[in-house]
């Protein structure tokens, strides 16, 4: 008999390869582990199984037992237990492993099944790949090349269906391309909890549609575009902009809130074209919010700062650093750090505050959480500020203390790292009373009032790390070069620190991390280069008592130790 390696593991045989997989694993997932591809459309690991596309047909066999005695039936030729092969194929997505299960994916029967399913799927398909946005990342294209028969026997007329239905502001539907897998329907219902999609006129004219009068406009609508295996659902933003095979993929993090959804930034020749979610089963599964996908537009938004300025006129970096140091050197300096800065920047901000013997404050950014992937704390990296020692407590809603110190004359100059002091509550009079040094990406009241302005980079233009609500430190990489004229945040901060009398800690993440690991106990064992793609959990217990703003969301429960997520979210 087959002995399970551990009680929860079940041994199965896929194309003769033995593998032990956890209970509840289906055949598609089990096969994946031995690098056997079971082609599929409707199955999605994060959605319920419906088994409606039939692409995943495989041959299945179970170990033979004597019906009377239940004793295993042995094959004298091999000395092993006999396998009873089922005469008919079965779908892999809805078949969970059982002890001793045998699966064959390479037999003639399986090949015929796949060819048959592909032929049916393509019967009414418009085959308009040359004008289809999905080309290059289309499962139908890939699997018809891999498993189809290669030519069509269909001589009848194809169905005509709506080609351009706007399901919502961000999602366009081409019904002729839809293969009726229902992934988008299940996503809307199960994950987004916005059950507006369905199939009408079921039969030869089955048509995906949104309930008349309603729209697919929830903040997660674009995930349907990601999981649509074909080109039926496309993003109105990305549609017809660029062929996907020209795009470079860079791992990044969604900075819209402390959820820290993992993302991929798709760019070409220095231009970002789209942002999509990257699977992280402990953070965002395979999803992200629509609102996080448009953040790349900030790179080229109006008002982007693109020159170092001193007293309003363009200047060299060297000169501006000198000017800033002179202003700050007079004493009475304060530092406003940011929960939107990276861990490295926050560390350098702390160093700057130390060099100036100034107090650092943070600005809070609290909204309403949606319970999924946009959390109440819209600062992506408040935990980073705690870990690096930039802050000991949570940011306050207003800069009240700072305002008082300005009024009393105790503070005469302020360095703001990307925070708009006016938006954070300082009055015009208070801002006029002080000398402001501003580091930031876009123009605002603070940059206009500042005596020295350093134009810095967006998350897409630099490397760094962020600590999300779970105290998971996650790395993002530079997708595109910074806009001309902008200076890396780390360069500005490091050089400011040294201009103000501190030690120079380097201006690239690697070097800054040497100091970071040496000085921050929580990060002692970590190097920038060894943070895995799915992040590293830090010990958040020293801050467990703080009243964090977040409520429960995907893979996060307030007040509980973060759990390594199970396969399904």
């Amino acid at each position: 008999m087959i002995q399970p390696a551990s009680p929860d593991l079940i041994t199965v045989y896929i194309d003769g390869k033995e593998i032990a997989v956890p209970k509840g694993t289906n055949v598609i997932e089990a096969a994946k582990r031995v690098n056997v591809d079971v082609p599929h459309y409707c199955y999605h690991p994060k959605l319920t199984v419906v088994g409606n596309c039939r692409m995943c047909l495989v041959e299945m066999g179970l170990p033979a037992v004597d019906p009377a005695t239940k004793a295993p039936v042995m094959d004298p030729a091999t000395g092993k237990q006999k396998v009873n092969w089922m005469p008919r194929p079965t779908i892999g997505c809805a078949t969970n492993v059982s002890p001793g299960l045998h699966i064959r994916t390479t037999t003639q029967m399986v090949k015929d099944c796949r060819e048959g399913v592909m032929e049916f799927l393509l019967i009414n398909h418009p085959l308009d790949c040359p004008i289809c946005d999905q080309a290059g990342e289309c499962k139908l294209q890939e699997q018809s090349a891999g498993y189809g028969r290669g030519y069509s026997r269909f001589v009848e007329k194809k169905n005509v269906k709506p080609k351009r239905t706007l399901l919502g502001p961000r999602v366009m539907l081409d019904d002729e391309r839809c293969i009726l897998c229902s992934r988008c329907i299940r996503f809307s219902k199960e994950v987004a909890k916005d059950d507006v999609l369905g199939f009408i006129d079921r039969g030869s004219y089955s048509t995906l549609t949104c309930y008349p009068g309603r729209k697919l406009e929830n903040n997660y609508s674009l995930n349907t575009v990601d999981i649509c295996p074909v080109g039926a659902l496309t993003s109105t933003d990305f549609r017809f902009k660029m062929r996907v095979w020209f795009l470079k993929q860079t791992n990044s993090i969604d900075t819209e809130s402390s959820a820290g959804a993992n993302t991929v930034v798709w760019s070409r020749e220095g231009v970002v074209y789209r942002v999509t979610p990257r699977q992280n089963d402990a953070v965002n599964d395979t999803w992200m919010a629509d609102s996080g996908r448009v953040l790349y537009k900030e790179i080229r938004a109006a008002g982007r700062l693109d020159s170092v300025r001193v007293e309003g006129s363009e200047s060299a970096l060297e000169f501006a650093l000198g000017a800033a140091a002179a202003i700050l050197g007079k004493g009475g300096a304060a530092v406003v750090g940011s929960g939107r800065s990276t861990v490295e920047e926050q560390f350098l901000t702390r160093k700057l505050a130390e060099a100036l013997k100034a107090k650092a404050s943070l600005v809070s950014r609290v909204g309403e959480g949606d319970g999924l992937l946009v959390t109440a704390d819209r600062n992506p990296n408040v935990r980073g500020a705690l870990v690096t020692g930039l802050a000991a407590e949570l940011p306050s809603a207003t800069l009240g203390t700072l305002a008082e110190q300005i009024d009393s004359g105790a503070v005469t100059s302020v360095v703001s790292v990307g925070e708009d002091l006016a938006a954070a509550g300082l009055s015009e009079a208070q801002m006029a009373k002080i000398s402001i040094i501003y580091l930031g990406t876009h123009a605002n009241a603070t940059s206009r009032a500042a005596r020295v302005v350093f134009p810095t980079l967006t998350v897409f233009e630099k490397h760094g790390t962020l600590v999300n609500q779970q105290f998971r430190i996650q790395r993002f990489a530079k997708a595109v070069p910074g806009v001309a004229g902008a200076v890396d945040d780390l360069t500005v901060l490091s050089r400011l620190v040294s201009a103000c009398g501190g030690a120079y800690l380097g201006s690239d993440v690697g070097t800054v991390w040497t100091a970071l690991s040496a000085e921050v106990p929580a990060l002692a064992a970590i190097r920038y280069s060894n943070i895995p793609d799915t992040g590293l959990l830090l010990d958040g217990s020293p801050w467990a008592a703080l009243p964090f703003a977040e409520g429960a969301s995907l893979h996060y429960k307030p007040g509980s130790a973060p759990q390594e997520a199970a396969a399904r979210g």
């Binding site: 219902k189 059950d195 507006v196 999609l197 369905g198 199939f199 009408i200 006129d201 079921r202 039969g203 949104c210 309930y211 008349p212 009068g213 309603r214």
Partner: protein
């Protein structure tokens, strides 16, 4: 929704017959259609609300079953069988005659609102083809002449019932 008191009580009576509320969607659609003559989008939303569903779930059903109508029909519903036996025995001529009599086209409401003429599939009375149903009355051997007679009665508001169902 302006449902008759009787329809409402039948709806409330039928729901608990099912282990899950959702399963009552079909009976509710029938009841509402009987009451209103068709299933309006208002009715779809009302039923969804009643059963704790989303409107799209009910809409999927309505579009799947050809017998649910999404538009109002005439006062009488003339259903002419077009399956093999009836087709051979002149069902199409019968249907054309009805359309001519009421100056209407298939599926439309006739100008005076008297009738809606439609084709249906086998009515299980193939031996007496061609067969027509007017609302829930069965009419056998309806050739063009009989279709004229029936039309006259309908126009005059006279009963057409033959007692057959």
């Amino acid at each position: 929704m302006n449902l008759k008191a009787e329809t409402l009580s039948r709806i409330d009576e039928v729901i608990p017959h099912y282990p899950v509320k959702r399963s009552a969607a079909l009976p509710l659609l029938h009841l509402v259609q009987e009451d209103q003559g068709y299933v309006s989008s208002e009715a779809i939303e009302w039923i969804a609300e009643k059963l704790g569903l989303q409107p799209i779930n009910v809409y999927e059903l309505v579009t799947f079953y050809p017998m649910f109508r999404q538009k109002p029909i005439g006062r009488r519903h003339i259903k002419v069988c077009r399956t093999l036996s009836c087709a051979i025995m002149g069902g199409y001529r019968t249907c054309a005659e009805f359309q001519k009599q009421f100056e209407t086209r298939l599926g439309d409401v006739s100008p005076g609102g008297d009738v809606t003429v439609e084709f249906v599939e086998c009515l299980a009375s193939c031996g007496t083809a061609p067969v027509v149903m007017i609302d829930d009355e069965l009419h056998e051997r309806v050739d063009a002449a009989r279709a004229r007679e029936l039309s006259d009665k309908i126009k005059a508001g006279a009963p057409t019932d033959t007692g057959r169902r």
